[in-house]
Subunit: 753 residues, 2 copies
């Protein structure tokens, strides 16, 4: 379900080596010099076991028919994947979950005034795209977890439909209460749009893809180029994902056959109003019919019209009804038991369900992961055994809301909390640059990995290529870091793929990895995300599928084989220190903005500036922003920095000492390091959303994909809830002090104390 | 010809009062307290003589038929205007000049491959626009001073066609040599586009108006709204105006009947390649047919296509031939002789010729100026006499290249250098905010005026309203200045209207004034800039016509009546100090950019970042930027600051003393102050363009409209001509030292020394 790497990931860049061009370190993080050499030899074997043809054949097989959750071909794919894992030598089972999965029964959208038009709501077959005509097997374009509804009302165009867009409408005196809104995709998780529309009293919500964002304005459209064509519709979930992921009827527990379920009417992650996605061909007549004020510049898309805000005279009738059925999700779980530390699990996952054929999303990542499993399986067949247990997971039901991964994680929560070393995720993959997000305790480790993988187009490491790109095309900050910071700064994770239940619900250190930025995508969640499209526009020779397998394979093998799990905390400390600075700046900037605005209201500037021939509502002065006590947070960050440094020193001393690790020592150190990410969680979770327990990373309540770091503090400030912000500062500070204590225990264990 | 205020003027903000909300000063700059009171009483009478109905009736009469240079109706308009001035009591004459004015004989544009299409090159009548059908009287869309030509070649899309656009094309391996370029209007004087295209070897140049810039993307198109409709074409001059303005055949001298003329082949301001302007309806099939790489994001306009760069497969045939005829320009010059200081002339001007009906451009400004003249004439009929001579000028031939004003200024150059106090220009006028540009020695004076004119929509002063708008919508710098700086910072003048020959060729202190920002224009230089359009979308009740007359009238009356001419130099010193900082920063930034780029080339970043499936040409490292000696400039600026402060102190002391001015004292002071702006010129002019003698303000060699301050220094740095930059620093410093000396003489004269 993840939005393409190109659009979804912002690459950022920590300080382990003195300069950017540091030579390849002889010793891998967590390994002795001798064991590093052995590990690198294993990785050479891994590479020899990776073949682009395997991935291409699997993709062709898996994308031959639509394979959404609950589809016959989806089940066949799960069985095919399970059979592959078995053939690779993995102990494989399919775990089933019963989940709510509504499918469309009625979809109707008509313009009823001032002219009439009936939306096609269909994606025609495209010549040269051999699977686009399989309409009988497809789910038509719809937004899953929209409620049923029938509404007729005037239209209002709300741009991306995020909170700031409604602020702008309010300034222009436009109220969406009792209206139907039309919003363009982008700038948030799609479920945010109906949520915010409903909060403002709208009756229904129409979503469309504007050609400015991924259509002809970006490049030639399919089939000439890869970009979104006029009738292509983005399907997708509109669940209130920032509340929690997973099956709407089994909050917090695994959706096993016999699990207790809440009633559909009590399922809070369903939308409050009906929602339907449409193409820009269907949106054009609606948008053209809207009158009222001309939309502000940032609202204007790429259609050849003047964008107006409304409301009316355009009036639409939207009718939606769904089959509120249950479906079975088939998670394929493949295990290679660890020889020495079987109760430390390294978990790798990628979903297998798609909205339609899903060549890019998710099969590009899925087949790369299968390639890793095959190569690791081949190693095992030579007699090699992993020290720790390796688990490969091919998830079902990711698209509707991370169902397969969430239900599995909830079902096995206790065991995972005790045993999961890390969760490594991928999703869509494409030609281009390395995108890395995850827990910052793994930042240094991931840089080591990226330094050892060669970019297939340029022959330099994927790390160097990505940093080169940042130096050339990045923001001023990125350019500086890509020149001066030793490590690539990895992204903090929000949501949008299967890492969420592991990282943010269980507190398992997680990674999300993929390549992209050189593809022509634009067919996200349409009937044209096909094999034919993929081989022309996404990764023509499959080279980056192999590169992803090399990357994922190294991450898994090193985590499985390391003496000391390759956690490193100075990178985390550097990042969390930035986040602490950011929340202080956020409050400071909000204070200045509030003061400035109050002055402009009081001195009459707004009243004098506004064009009297247009409607403007004078803003109301907001309460001043108080000064908050950030000292507990600053002190806690300082404690983490100190502990992180001490750990690194102890680890280096121990490595220099050459003293081998005893089994009990490894066991103990492993548990302490596994526990470090867990120490970043609090059982009560975040304010208003207890399912999310991680105190450093969460998807934004009003962004959905986009991460909010230090979410409790940051979102309280954004929402101007000062008391809550002050409480959250204390909570985060306490959490970070606990984290520092956990690191100190690991440091002590390293020194044999 | 000036581009609408909304698009063309960037409003900036000097320090005469302690804070922004300073109360109305009791005493006007240059007046004793007593005389201030008398002056304000005169201004009340001025206001009573201003009637919106006059302006509306004159506009209706003057815009009833096309009235371009050389047209029968244009001559009739000149005679009508002359008769008005006579009826107001002005000594009026029409001065005639013979100028080169080519008109189209052949215009043909065809797409010949890969498909065929013939451009309409026509503007159809629009229902509800009563003059749009007068095609027989109109000049069809063309670019005057394009050469004849016939070319068939592949098309390349060059975005705005400015130098940075060609840099981008070069990075993508695209050469326009032997090709025809198509460029969109905007971001430069239109004559820059064929100039730069020819420098890069293009055979011909097509200009079009992209709907992103002033069409449907900005608002509803005519006749529903005021913005550019699909077939509307921007006419206009493509002369190389940054070399000089005026008749191409009489460089530097007045184009009187018997003036010596150069041959057309020797006229350097004509284009080097043929140029034709087209509508977006005609541009669409051409742009759609272009292949090659997808255009970079900043190149993409508002048409519903993927913009490609080419070259080809689109191939076009362009054929242009002109009647290379002479035309007569009719300047109407109306004089009210000064009773006390007849040899100090205050000159006010606005052109009367249009490209077609020109309701906005130029009649909105012309009729406001006529209203001033009527009201001042009415004062004179009561027995009041101006102290200094007032000259009102209605220029002809501004559109082809400031012909009427330039030829008049060149013809009377010696007299003007000796007598002209200031030149006050206006051009198009519209509903909205005050736009002020000019010589910064008049900044404080103009702020006084703007403080006394009431905005018709808001009831506050036009100064306060404009500053309020900057506080609300300005850049960070503008917001800060609009809050903290005592005076509105006025713009430095580039070119684009009739102030250029006065300010930049003769060194007469000049002002350009107008209102705008709330209109729906978009019909610039089309057949639809009509009375019908104006009254619906530009200044519906004519209120801002009256406001402009109040503003212009006050400027003229105060300049004519002041004891001491209201020059004030601390504002100039503040602005020139900024310019000096800017050129130093320009060199510093260029140095850093050059270093950064050289590093990215050397370390392989570019090579690693580029997508190998697209063509990118690795940039070549540029020579390092040396450190330049800016000390002479800094010292000269300090000298001006010191002299400016001393003058202000002396002026205040003298005002406090109450000692009246004797006639000879006034004469002497006047000559010294008139000479101050002249002190900013150098006889040899700017490098490569001797006609432009002003050392502080010039239109940019590669911008045309946009000003380059300290042009000699700035453009040498931009062009990386270091030796020239060093020489120009010395020259500007010497010029500023001379300016300080001139101010010192005026200071001495004030003190009676």
């Amino acid at each position: 379900m993840r939005r393409s790497v190109r659009l979804g990931l912002v690459l950022l860049f920590a300080a382990r080596f003195a300069h950017a061009d540091a030579p390849q370190p002889a010793t891998l993080l967590g390994f002795s010099t001798e064991r590093s050499t052995a590990e690198r030899a294993i990785e050479q074997q891994l590479d020899q076991g990776l073949h682009a043809e395997d991935q291409r054949a699997w993709m062709k097989r898996l994308s031959a028919h639509p394979h959404h959750l609950g589809s016959p071909y989806g089940k066949q794919n799960a069985e095919f994947i399970a059979e592959l894992y078995r053939s690779f030598g993995f102990d494989t089972r399919i775990e089933e979950f019963r989940v709510l999965f509504p499918t469309p029964k009625l979809r109707k959208l008509e313009l009823v005034a001032p002219t009439s038009f009936t939306a096609s709501l269909a994606e025609p077959a495209i010549p040269g795209d051999s699977t686009s005509g399989q309409t009988a097997e497809m789910l038509p374009p719809y937004n899953v977890y929209s409620i049923d509804g029938d509404a007729t009302a005037e239209l209002v165009y709300v741009n991306y439909g995020i909170p700031s867009d409604y602020d702008e409408l309010e300034r222009r005196g436009i109220d969406v209460k009792g209206k139907i809104v039309i919003a363009r995709y982008g700038h948030s998780w799609r479920g945010i749009k109906p949520k915010v529309a409903a909060e403002h009293g709208a009756l229904a919500c129409i979503l469309y893809s504007d050609p400015a964002d991924d259509g002809y304005a970006q490049g030639d459209v399919y089939p000439k180029g890869g970009w979104r064509s006029d009738h292509a519709v983005q399907r997708g979930s509109v669940a209130d994902a920032p509340l929690r992921s997973g099956d709407p009827l089994t909050p917090g527990i695994g959706a096993t056959a016999d699990a207790p379920r809440i009633a559909i009417k009590d399922a809070v992650t369903l939308t409050k109003i009906p929602v339907l996605p449409i193409s820009y061909a269907d949106a054009l007549p609606l948008l053209r019919a809207i009158g009222g004020p001309v939309a502000p510049e940032s609202y204007r898309g790429g259609l050849p019209i003047t964008y107006h805000l409304g409301p009316g005279p355009a009036k639409v009738h939207l009718a939606l009804a769904f089959n509120w059925d249950m479906a079975t999700a088939y998670d394929v779980i493949a295990t290679l038991r660890g020889a020495e530390l079987p109760d430390q699990w390294v978990i790798r996952g990628n979903h297998h369900d798609a909205w339609v054929h899903g060549a890019s999303d998710p099969l590009s990542g899925q087949v790369a992961m299968l390639a890793e499993a095959k190569a690791i399986g081949a190693l095992a067949k030579t007699g090699w055994k992993p020290r720790r247990t390796i688990v490969y997971a091919s998830w079902d039901g990711e698209e509707p809301g991370l169902l397969g991964s969430t239900e599995w994680a909830e079902t096995h929560a206790d065991e995972l909390r005790a045993k999961a070393v890390a969760y490594i995720n991928s999703d869509s993959n494409a030609r281009g640059f390395l995108g890395l997000g995850g827990s910052h305790s793994l930042e240094a480790f991931l840089n080591d990995v990226a330094r050892d993988v060669v970019d297939p187009e340029k022959g330099v490491s994927v790390l160097e290529r990505t940093r080169a790109n940042q130096r050339v095309t990045g923001s001023a900050d990125e350019k500086r870091e890509a020149r001066d910071r030793a490590n690539l700064r990895i992204n903090a994770l929000g949501s949008g793929s299967d890492f969420t239940p592991f990282l943010q619900h269980l507190g398992v250190a997680s990674v999300d990895v993929g390549y992209g930025g050189e593809e022509e995508y634009g067919q996200y969640h349409t009937a044209y995300d096909s094999f034919d499209h993929f081989v022309r526009f996404v990764d023509p020779d499959g080279a980056y599928g192999v590169t992803l397998a090399q990357t994922g394979g190294r991450i898994i093998l090193r985590l499985a084989q390391a003496d000391v799990l390759p956690f490193e905390f100075t990178g985390f400390a550097d990042n969390v220190s930035r986040y602490a600075d950011q929340v202080r700046e956020l409050a400071d900037n909000l204070r200045t903005e509030t003061e400035d605005q109050s002055r402009l209201i009081a001195d009459g500037s707004y009243a004098q500036a506004f064009d009297p021939r247009h409607t403007y509502v004078l803003p109301k002065a907001k309460d001043p922003v108080p000064f908050l006590n950030f000292a507990p947070l600053q002190n806690a960050v300082a404690a983490v920095q100190k502990s992180a440094k001490a750990f690194s020193t102890a680890a280096a001393d121990r490595a220099r000492s050459g003293r081998p690790y005893e089994a009990a020592e490894l066991q103990n150190l492993g548990q302490l390091l596994i526990g470090s990410e867990r120490a970043l969680t609090r059982p009560e979770g975040l304010p208003g959303r207890p399912w999310y327990v991680h105190q450093i990373y969460a998807p934004g309540f009003y962004t959905g994909y986009g991460v909010k770091t230090l979410p409790g503090v940051r979102e309280a400030i954004e929402a101007r809830r000062w008391d809550e912000a002050a409480r959250e500062v204390e909570k985060v500070a306490e959490t970070l002090r606990g984290y520092a204590a956990q690191i100190d225990k690991a440091t002590a264990a390293l020194g044999g104390r």
